[in-house]
């Protein structure tokens, strides 16, 4: 019983860092849904690609290059964000743009196709097996007394939380104050009206995809560093969970995606710790089902009114 509190703290911390990753991915889902009302099924794969691009950058720089570690990680993030942003752009141009204005199911099926395509694209290019990621930031902070339960806080996990918090603040300011942010808010309220008022809606949509992809790429690089391995199929489950997070917070709402991500991450970690680790995916999917059934508009979302 003595260990209960430190153990709980440990789990909460693990959940928070996992939730931060979900939040980074979930923003891409929620922004795209907010603007064009489609589920970008391939978004999880974008996150996975972000991880791979980061790893390729790391190998290009070399693990023993003599550069300071923060610079190497910074470089990985920058390259991954740039290339993955291009992926987001390319995916939108190829698979979704030609389908504007078609019935709802059509872009969704195209997105599933894109998801399958990207998974196998990476599996062909970089191999389908697990790829080990060198530990750039080994070590951890330890709290707690000798002999008792120690709270173990790895540096990589701290990095995840710090980077995510910085990005979230940046994103909030950007959406609130920049010209593009205002345009995208306008589009999510009323696309047609926004275009009548001279906003280039195609540009806004592309921008949304690129921004979402960039944030997901950061998540991919950070999780690769924290977990230490990558494979082409991590995107699928992570994508569905991030989507759950987006729905939980209220799809279309950016603060909702952040909140939803953290709640989902913590819930999943607690379930793994106190119920059984095999059931953590079931808990996540179960949560998704329950939210959609009882509160489809999510925690911070506005209920949708059906109009004839």
């Amino acid at each position: 019983m003595n260990d209960f509190i430190p153990q709980l703290l440990q789990q909460l911390f693990n959940g928070l860092s996992l939730g931060a990753i979900y939040a980074l991915i979930a923003i891409g889902y929620t922004m795209v849904y907010g603007i064009i009302g489609m589920i970008n099924f391939a978004h999880g794969e974008i996150y996975m690609i972000g991880g791979y691009v980061g790893l390729v950058t790391l190998s290009a720089v070399g693990t023993q290059s003599g550069l300071p570690i923060w610079m190497v990680i910074g470089l990985m993030l920058v390259v991954a964000v740039f290339i993955t942003g291009l992926y987001g752009y390319a995916v939108e141009q190829v698979a979704y743009k030609p389908l504007r204005g078609s019935p709802r199911l059509v872009p969704l099926i195209s997105a599933i196709g894109m998801s399958i395509f990207l998974q196998n694209w990476v599996a062909l290019g970089q191999g389908a097996r697990d790829m080990a990621v060198p530990a750039l930031l080994p070590g951890a902070l330890r709290f707690g007394d000798e002999g008792g339960f120690e709270v173990f806080v790895p540096y990589t996990r701290i990095l995840i939380i710090v980077v995510t918090v910085v990005l979230m603040i940046g994103l909030t300011l950007f959406i609130r104050h920049s010209r593009m942010g205002r345009a995208s808010r306008a589009c999510s309220q009323d696309m047609h009206m926004a275009s009548l008022l001279g906003i280039n809606t195609n540009q806004v949509i592309s921008f949304t995809f690129v921004l979402g992809a960039m944030l997901a790429a950061v998540g991919g690089v950070l999780i690769a560093l924290a977990v230490g391995k990558l494979n082409p199929f991590i995107g699928f489950i992570a994508g569905i969970k991030a989507f759950t997070a987006a729905v939980l917070g209220g799809i279309g709402s950016i603060p909702g995606a952040m909140l939803g991500g953290v709640i989902l991450g913590v819930a999943e970690t607690l379930a793994a710790a106190y119920i059984s680790s095999e059931y953590k995916d079931i808990v996540a999917f179960g949560l998704l089902v329950l939210i959609l059934l009882f509160r489809p508009s999510g925690l911070l979302g506005k209920p949708e009114v059906e109009k004839v």
Binding site: S59, A60, P98, N120, L124, M131
Partner: protein, 420 residues
């Protein structure tokens, strides 16, 4: 020519993006040697890839201008009196060819027929009722495991378990459908996906019951009117198929028998769904797909209609699952992943949502082509994903779009209608 010139800059841009996008995945291959990571560069891939994108982008406006009005050819409408003999001939051919064909071909055809069955089942849900179900494989799994478990724990034979497999899947469809069918299109898709995954994860984790990831093996094949199809009868004094008919034992008999059974099940599925769509309930499905609000205002209960489609679709998946378990002789959760759901959905979409002929053709295409093009098996899923995207762009209605059932009254000589 002018168009091509105008397009030069965007095409160059696209080529640069393509190069940047291809480089980290194909251009630089990660190699791991001990603790060190290194990269193998393959710049030729990048070069060819971006060149291809450049050429396509450059020529696209010119091609688009030319290809307006050029689609896939329409299938000619057959005169009504031909339809029956033609169908009969096709059936006769389908039933007799395995007696002259190779073992492998029959095996693949059996698999294709399972997918025909599943495709027709999902077609009821997605094509007729317009409910996007991404967890269809869950019901398939329920059917397969129902037979496997009944056989493993209670010793039921295939024929005893078959109806129960269908019923069990239908029950699952009903129970799961009850809460989720209130949701709109894409939410419904995600929840069904979630349910499909939950069913699979439960099968993996309920190790004591289902054998966990290893699944259940040595499931017996179906018997023929109580006659076992094996070299020796498993129970003392019983006769096997080849002894009863005085044939010499040949394992191909089993393969042919399984094929014929799959054919029978597929035909039954086709027949039932074909009748359903002409019944009032089928009309209601279509009406609901077209406009839910209008449907409700005309006094139809959307919940009942959706639930009936969902339940019936699940039932077909259950039959398919039980047959699959019997054919494989082993079931494990690996066979019921999301990719399987996506494949069945692709069959329905590729064929043309709601079109039964389309579903059959697409199921045969999607199962037979990968088997024929074995040397491309690595690229199979890649191409599969690409085809799904291209289909949605070029022909979202599918290969053979659904044709509404309609009866044309011959105009006849003027005034004939009045005199009759």
């Amino acid at each position: 020519m002018r168009k091509i010139q105008n397009n030069l800059v965007p095409a160059l841009l696209a080529a640069v993006i393509a190069a940047l996008v291809i480089t980290p995945i194909f251009g630089l291959e990660l190699k791991r040697a001990g603790m060190k990571l290194s990269l193998d560069s393959h710049w030729s891939y990048v070069l060819w890839g971006s060149l291809a994108v450049f050429v396509v982008q450059l020529l696209r406006p010119a091609l688009q201008a030319r290809s307006v009005g050029l689609g896939l050819p329409k299938i000619p409408r057959l005169p009504a009196q031909w339809a029956k003999p033609l169908m009969f001939a096709a059936l006769l051919m389908a039933a007799t060819w395995p007696f002259f064909a190779g073992r492998n071909a029959i095996d693949i055809a059996t698999l294709a027929l399972i997918y025909v069955m599943l495709g027709l089942g999902l077609n009821v849900v997605v094509g007729f009722a317009g409910l996007l179900d991404l967890g269809f494989v869950g019901f398939y799994a329920v059917g397969a495991y129902t037979y496997a478990l009944l056989n493993h724990w209670a010793g039921w034979s295939f024929w005893q378990a078959l109806p129960l497999s269908g019923a069990m899947s239908a029950l699952f469809g009903f129970l799961l459908g009850f809460p989720v069918l209130r949701l709109r299109g894409d939410y419904l898709a995600i929840v069904t996906l979630g349910f499909g995954e939950i069913i699979r994860l439960l099968l993996v984790n309920l190790t004591d019951w289902t054998g966990g990831p290893d699944g259940i093996s040595s499931i017996p094949k179906p018997s023929v009117f109580g006659l076992e199809m094996a070299r020796n009868a498993s129970t003392e004094g019983a006769q096997t198929f080849h002894q009863f008919f005085g044939l010499s034992f040949n394992s191909v008999h089993m393969v042919i028998f399984l094929y014929l059974m799959a054919l029978l099940l597929a035909i039954v599925t086709l027949f039932i769904s074909n009748r359903l769509i002409r019944m009032p309930i089928g009309r209601a499905w279509e009406a609901l797909r077209e406009d839910e609000i209008a449907c409700r205002s005309l006094g139809l209960s959307p919940m009942k209609i959706k639930l009936s489609a969902f339940t019936l679709g699940a039932m077909f998946a259950g039959f398919g699952g039980a047959f699959f378990a019997a054919r494989q002789g082993i079931v494990n959760p690996e066979s019921f992943t999301f990719i399987e759901s996506a494949l069945i959905l692709a069959i329905v979409v590729l064929g043309g949502m709601g079109s039964q002929l389309g579903v059959i053709v697409a199921a045969v295409l999607l199962t037979a082509l990968p088997e024929i093009a074995r040397e491309f098996s690595e690229y199979r899923m890649l191409i599969f994903g690409l085809v799904m995207i291209l289909m949605m762009i070029w022909r979202p209605q599918g290969l053979f779009p659904m044709q509404r059932h309609q009866i044309k009254v011959d105009a006849g000589p003027a005034g004939a209608a009045g005199q009759a």
